[in-house]
Amino acid sequence: MFKLIGGIVIGVALGLAGAWFAAMNMAGGLMFQERVSPFTMEETVARIQQNIQAAGNGWALFGLRYPARPVEAEGGNVLPVMLIEACSVKYSGPILKEDSVRFLSLLMPCKIAVYKKSDGKVYIGIMNAGLIGRFFGSLVGNTMADVVKDQESFLVMDPTKPAPPMIIPKVGDGGGGGAGGSAGGC
């Protein structure tokens, strides 16, 4: 009997440890995704920006940030990174109205990272909003499911179409509405 209980305890402990190990190793890959872009940094950003503006559902550009610049200003070299920020009041509004999930404003506005790696290729990094949404109940889960669909449409890039110009927000625009004029909810 003692052996049986001991075996179960050890088995459960090993199972938990294995699950923990797997979760720790896989969580990063599940929470975030990256894919290679066939275009240059600027063209990738411009095409995503154009898609966001054309997406409807209240989506608007919110800003464009350059996280590598402060590093360069301090004298260091890092490969370029651009963060496209976009927001939709249609999706952000209900979440911001609900006290229990208002802390998710931390994830607003939505971000898409475009960056180079040392292999010379341009990558697009996105957050797995669908997976994250599932942790926070039906309101957030359903909203994030819609966000994921739109997010996929942002990343559809047709090489037969000419490269649009990159939209560079004017200094000071970062906190205001985007080009669509409807991002005030963020």
């Binding site: 240059t40 940094m41 095409r47 360069e72 004298g75 070299n77 292999d119 649009p164």
Partner: protein, 541 residues
């Protein structure tokens, strides 16, 4: 024992001090900006005249600097010609073809905006005329001296629209003001041509663009405007107007100790001239490991991990085959890419640009062999406009980083040579004026005095540019795994064994065998220790 320790310590300190003395540490004097002139040129009566033309200014300069023009006339900046001492081949902008604008011949009026002279409009230019030397292009300190394409090297004398039809106007240069404010050349002086080679900022070199006018440390540790603040002539030491350091006289593998500035016995425009060929000074073993790399790698290979490291970027591709294509309304069009750089121009074809680019690596002994005007080509493969010479076993060769500019340009499919195209000008045969390839080629080939079959097509070409500017801070040099790893940057380089990338079965077997033997030894030792419990207790002292 103490004696042995003393001898070892003495030996170590001596070797350390000898090793440390090989590195040149910049002194305070080296960090200071160049000294101001001892003469206030605005007070010279020769320079208080009203100058109507550039040559008039030069005459005034020569009144005091009476040998200056003769000196300049012996430089590449004047002749645009270099003769290869070994082969006798004539090189320089006057003789080679590139895969950007392709050739200066028949296009002098435009190209000579970057000539250190006035009036080179065609082959009748008098290279002996001293007042034709342009002093101001290198010595203007006002930043207002400007020469435009189309004026054969003369500065702007009258207000004019530029580019034509753009609605933008440029004012004439105040020659008196510029002449009274001459100074030693700054980065902006050299950059007024070398940053804008091939007709646009950052187009040609990949490691030279307008970001170097006022760079921060991350972009160039030497030119850092708030740090060492080097100007070009700090390394490109100049004597009698001869500027040291050129891709035609490249020092790819300088060896020996560093030499203080002003005492160079060779090309001062090399890293080793100041740093020596054993420059690393960190922990002894690590430094020694890094220093052994200098027999194989150029300094630039590790210390310029990417080139075009600014928003300016650089041109990667110029495809002339699409030039003369018009917009839907039959008029010339100009299209920019997402970053606002040129992507298509009916005059010039398609372009591709990028920034933060990983170099391509080649063995290089300092010699670039060129295709010059009239040379035969093999159009079945990409034509190397220039080829970096060098091989793995050559003592003077190192692995160097390059920007490789690719393009398509006109060639004669019957005579198998690259064609000279008369692109610039307002006459009826200029390509950029009438968009007619045959007329433009006919004029270009007539000007250079070579036959043309009457046919033209386009061939893929490559041109290699050694990367040597924009040295990053030492902390940003390539890490070990960027070469010694599965995705090594040097994986296509022949003739080297790279641990971490390459495998040798016998070496691996020996390594694993040694590890196995060590493990067996440890196990045996452990078993013996476990099976022999009756060790003598240590006697209490």
């Amino acid at each position: 024992m103490k004696l042995l320790s003393f001898i070892l310590a003495l030996g170590a300190s001596l070797s350390l001090s000898a090793w440390a003395s090989e590195s040149f540490t910049p002194t305070l004097t080296d960090k200071l900006p160049p000294p101001k002139s001892t003469a206030d040129h605005s007070k010279f009566k020769e320079l208080q005249a009203v100058f109507k033309t550039g040559p008039e200014v030069t005459k005034a300069c020569l009144a005091c600097h009476n040998d200056a023009a003769k000196q300049v006339q012996h430089t590449k900046h004047w002749t645009w010609e270099v003769v290869d001492a070994k082969t006798g081949q004539k090189l320089g902008k006057k003789n080679i073809i590139n895969n950007f604008c392709t050739s200066t011949v028949s296009n002098e009026k435009d190209c000579m905006a970057c000539h250190a002279g006035y009036g080179w409009a065609d082959k009748s230019f008098d290279f002996t005329k001293e007042e034709s030397v342009d002093c101001l292009i290198c010595h203007d300190s006002t930043g207002t001296y400007r020469k435009l394409p189309g004026d054969a090297g003369h500065p702007i004398y009258e207000r004019k629209e530029f580019p034509a039809g753009s609605g933008k106007f440029v004012d004439p240069v105040d020659l008196q003001k510029v002449a009274q404010k001459v100074a030693m050349p700054s980065r902006a002086n050299c950059g007024s041509c070398h940053f804008f080679g091939a007709g646009g900022d950052g187009t040609k070199h990949g490691d030279l663009d307008s970001a170097l006018r006022n760079p921060s440390k991350h972009l160039d540790v030497h030119m850092d405007a708030k740090g060492l603040n080097f100007s070009c002539v700090n390394c490109h030491k100049t004597s009698q107007h001869q500027v040291a350091g050129s891709r035609y006289e490249f020092d790819a593998s300088r060896t020996g100790k560093p030499q203080p500035q002003g005492k160079f016995d060779g090309n001062p425009a090399s890293c080793q001239a100041c740093h020596g060929d054993k420059p690393h000074k960190e922990s002894l073993l690590h430094a020694e490991r890094l220093n052994t790399h200098t027999d194989t790698l150029a300094c630039q290979t590790c210390h310029i991990p990417e080139y075009a490291r600014s928003n300016v970027g650089t041109e990667k591709v110029w495809d002339w085959s699409t030039a003369t294509k018009m917009g839907p309304d039959g008029k010339p069009i100009f299209v920019k890419d997402s970053a606002g750089r040129r992507a298509f121009d009916s005059k010039k074809g398609n372009f591709a640009w990028d920034s933060y680019l990983m170099p391509e690596y080649r063995w290089f002994n300092g010699k670039l062999s060129y295709k010059v005007i009239g040379d035969k080509i093999d159009p079945s493969k990409a034509v190397e406009i220039n080829h970096p010479e060098g091989s793995p076993n050559e003592p003077g060769a190192r692995i160097w980083p390059f920007k490789v500019h690719r393009g398509k340009q006109a060639y004669d499919p019957e005579l198998k040579n690259l064609l000279i195209v008369h692109t610039a000008g307002e006459d009826h045969t200029a390509l950029w004026h009438n968009f007619d390839w045959p007329k433009a080629i006919e004029t270009g080939m007539q000007t250079v005095g070579l036959p043309w079959s009457g046919k033209h097509d386009f061939v893929a070409t490559e041109m290699s540019w050694p990367i040597t500017h924009t040295v990053a801070p030492k902390g940003d040099a390539l890490s070990c795994t960027q070469c010694h790893g599965a995705n090594s940057r040097l994986k296509d380089i022949p003739g080297i064994y790279l641990p971490g990338l390459h495998k040798n079965e016998w070496l691996d077997l020996a390594g694993w065998g040694a590890a196995l033997l060590a493990l067996i030894g440890v196990l045996i030792h452990g078993i013996i220790r476990a099976c022999v419990p009756c060790r003598k207790p240590r006697s209490k002292q």
